[in-house]
């Protein structure tokens, strides 16, 4: 047997100094030769740990094998079979804690770059206009899918392929949910998102935009008109710190900041109408992926200094390693062990800075991470022109406040059983709407699981 290469085929990326000038994709993607070489590093484990750790149980081993043999179309078909949006998942999944986490290659070197291989085959299929062939046998049953984010997409695709009539409702004027409004183009190019979404129409899913369930379509109307429902309403509502001065101008929620940039294309203002105010010094509160996205956007929008302000240390940061690394490469400064106590402003109502208090780590809390504690008397001020609160999100109360019959968890998520069924018969839910903060791939997995539940429910109903 040929000697396996312990080291990954490196992913070519735009140099940092180049990429902070635009919103182009940072990873440049494997070319065919690179993908083949990376795939050939795979040792084809008998009981592949990568597949077990994938929320979609994709047939990763088989996909990699085909890539290694240069059979890109076959590889694509394998990926697409279990994942309706492989080009997206390959880019934004946290592979290091999923498929790549237990890769046996890790024991002797780098794990296989499964994410980038997945993206490669999907991109290859897009470029070569290659698609799967299938026939849909129409079946009795009308299903409403609420929310066109990853959970909604996978649920809609699976149910449509089973032959049901599926209508997908989206509140915004573009489909895609967080893929469209949340994740910046340098991480997930919007032409990729739009291409993957075009698949929905191609297989005959009816997509209704500007349809805000609970607002301009009532949940009860859906219940009357459809035989089953999936709720993939996400966790769209922002959290604020709730400290003094937060109502000053110059304070954004990460949601608003990113919606302006991604959905409304503020980075092309004034060609696009929607403005965004980014000062010279920007402070982003939080250290998750959203915080990294906001910080990296701020850099690209001309901020001279961008700070991540985090109450724990880099080690505990919830962001993916790759995102954190990219942010640092781009010149974002990570300030550890600080917590905001007050937003400082001038008499015109604009912020001038932030007051922070130093923190120390003590015993682990319920999240398993060391609990940050304030060090009394260590408050200090920092000059800032823009503050972005990236403190996580919560389920949108617009929908929940108008669906009182739906049971929820204390934290606001929709309550479901093991099959993702809610307390209402025929109504399922998944993704951030139940967890409050999942990943794209978990949402895809939920959508798929809910589709299965709905299929079982309707099969029983029509028997």
């Amino acid at each position: 047997m040929a000697k396996v290469n312990r080291i990954r085929v490196p992913m070519r990326e735009l140099p940092a100094e180049e990429r902070i000038k635009n919103f182009n994709s940072v990873p440049l993607g494997y070319i065919e030769e690179e993908a083949v070489a990376e795939a050939q590093r795979c040792i084809h484990c008998e009981d592949p740990p990568c597949e077990k750790n994938c929320p979609l149980n994709m047939e990763i081993k088989a996909m990699i094998k085909e890539i290694g043999q240069g059979n890109f179309k076959e590889a694509f078909l394998i990926a697409k079979k279990d994942n309706p949006i492989p080009a997206i998942a390959g880019r934004v999944c946290p592979q290091e804690t999923q498929c790549e986490e237990n890769c046996n290659m890790r024991k002797i070197g780098d794990p296989i770059n499964i994410g980038k291989l997945g993206a490669f085959v999907a991109d290859w299929a897009m470029k070569n206009k290659s698609s799967e062939e299938f026939q849909i046998k129409e079946r009795r049953g009308k299903i409403a899918v609420v929310g066109s984010g990853p959970a909604g997409i996978s649920c809609a695709v699976d149910l449509r392929k089973l032959g049901y009539r599926v209508t997908l409702f989206e509140a915004l004027h573009k489909a895609g949910g967080v893929l469209q409004y949340g994740i910046p183009a340098f991480r997930l190019p919007k032409d990729i998102v739009n291409y993957e979404l075009s698949y929905l129409q191609k297989i005959g899913v009816d997509v209704c935009l500007n349809s805000i369930v609970g607002q301009n379509i009532l949940f009860n109307e859906l219940r009357k008109e459809f035989d089953a429902i999936f709720l993939g309403t996400g966790a769209g509502a922002p959290r604020f710190l709730g400290i003094e001065g937060e109502k000053l101008m110059g304070v954004y929620s990460a949601n608003e900041f990113l919606i302006r940039v991604n959905l409304m294309k503020s980075y092309k203002f004034p060609e696009y109408d929607t403005p965004l105010i980014v000062g010279d010094k920007v402070g982003v509160i939080g250290a998750g992926n959203v915080a990294m996205d906001a910080a990296r956007c701020a850099k690209r929008l001309g901020a001279k200094k961008v700070y991540i302000l985090y109450r724990r240390t880099k080690k505990e940061a919830p962001a993916r390693a790759e995102e954190l690394q990219h942010a640092l490469e781009e010149g974002v400064t990570f300030k550890e062990l600080v917590n905001p106590t007050k937003v400082l402003g001038n008499k015109d109502g604009w912020i001038t800075g932030i007051e922070l208090i130093k923190m120390k780590l003590s015993k682990p809390d319920s999240s398993g991470r060391p609990r940050p504690e304030k060090i009394a008397g260590t408050e200090f001020a920092m000059e800032l022109d823009t503050i972005v609160d990236a403190l996580g999100t919560k389920p949108n109360r617009l929908f929940l406040s108008r669906t009182s019959e739906l049971e929820t968890e204390p934290y606001g998520g929709i309550k479901v059983n093991g099959n993702l069924m809610t307390n209402i018969e025929g109504v399922t839910a998944g993704g951030d709407a139940i967890s409050g903060g999942a990943t794209v791939i978990i949402a895809l997995g939920d959508g798929r699981k809910a589709a299965k539940s709905i299929h079982e429910y309707l099969t029983k109903l029509y028997r």
């Binding site: 769209g236 109502k247 696009y272 109408d273 929607t274 403005p275």
Partner: protein
């Protein structure tokens, strides 16, 4: 795409535009608003509705910035990119007794019309409508005023060139002094609404005003339109747009409304330049 079926000037600054938007029209209740995207690269802006009939909605719009000036150039038969709604949480249409709706600006005038029309249908309501314009030439055409849906109607001009001289607040004060008012709705200029709140507070007359802060998605996602009601954060898009005037922090609202002034000027300049180069 949403087809424009009627477009007329209301005065030199304001115009009305009617568009086909069956779902919005079907579900509209007074107090609801819509979000417009005028052109493909456009911003999402909230807009008041005056009327919703036969699958069409009518909006009153002021030529204020790039979007509204560009939209003013459109003609009947043209289309608006997106009309989204109805949005917001409308007030209950019920018996309020002697109920006022007063307004002094374009959006307020649209809401005045829509609200009075429905309030008048409820038995036991005595609807008093007040509308203020700057001068005689700025008064809207008669059939766009809320005159026809009120038991008493007061038209005032700031310079006194028509109707009663001064702001509607003066008229309202007389009513309050006589103890004749049970409930007040109002919309329009924010500083005037702030003054209205101060005026009605000592009389203890419930006063509900429309405030719409800068919005982006208008579905409760971005938090841009946050206002403070008794110190508690509320979103004008989903909790509003109508709030208890006696509990609102107006200084904060007025300040934040001007947040994008510089950017708006930049957008306008870019638009003018682009138009020149096309010519």
């Amino acid at each position: 795409m949403y087809k424009i079926t009627r477009k007329e000037n209301l005065n030199t600054d304001d115009y009305l535009i009617e568009v086909e938007a069956p779902n919005v029209a079907y579900r509209f209740k007074p107090g609801n608003f819509v979000v417009l995207i005028a052109v493909p690269k456009g911003e999402r802006i909230p807009m008041s509705i005056q009327k919703a009939e036969d699958g069409k909605i009518t909006m009153f719009i002021k030529k204020l910035g790039k979007t509204t000036i560009e939209l003013d150039k459109s003609k009947v038969g043209d289309s608006i990119e997106q009309v989204i709604g109805p949005m917001g949480n409308p007030p209950e249409i019920k018996k309020y007794g002697n109920v006022v709706f007063s307004s002094d600006l374009v959006c307020g005038h649209a809401e005045n019309y829509a609200m009075c029309k429905e309030l008048k249908k409820i038995e036991g309501n005595y609807v008093i409508s007040m509308q203020t314009f700057s001068n005689r030439s700025q008064i809207y055409p008669e059939n766009e005023l809320s005159k026809n849906f009120s038991d008493e109607y007061y038209l005032t001009t700031l310079d006194g060139s028509y109707g009663i001289k001064g702001h509607y607040k003066n008229v309202l004060k007389d009513f309050l002094d006589k103890g004749k008012i049970d409930f007040i709705f109002a919309g329009g200029d924010l500083p005037a609404l702030r003054d209205l709140a101060k005026l009605t507070k000592p009389y203890d007359v419930p006063t509900i005003v429309t405030v719409r802060q800068v919005m982006v998605d208008a579905t409760g996602m971005c938090g841009s339109c946050r206002v403070f009601v008794d110190g508690e954060m509320k979103l004008t898009c989903i909790d509003g747009p109508m709030f208890d005037a006696h509990k609102l922090n107006f200084e904060d609202i007025i300040r934040r409304m001007a947040m994008y002034k510089k950017k708006e000027a930049e957008a306008m300049e870019y638009y003018n330049k682009r138009n020149k180069s096309i010519e």
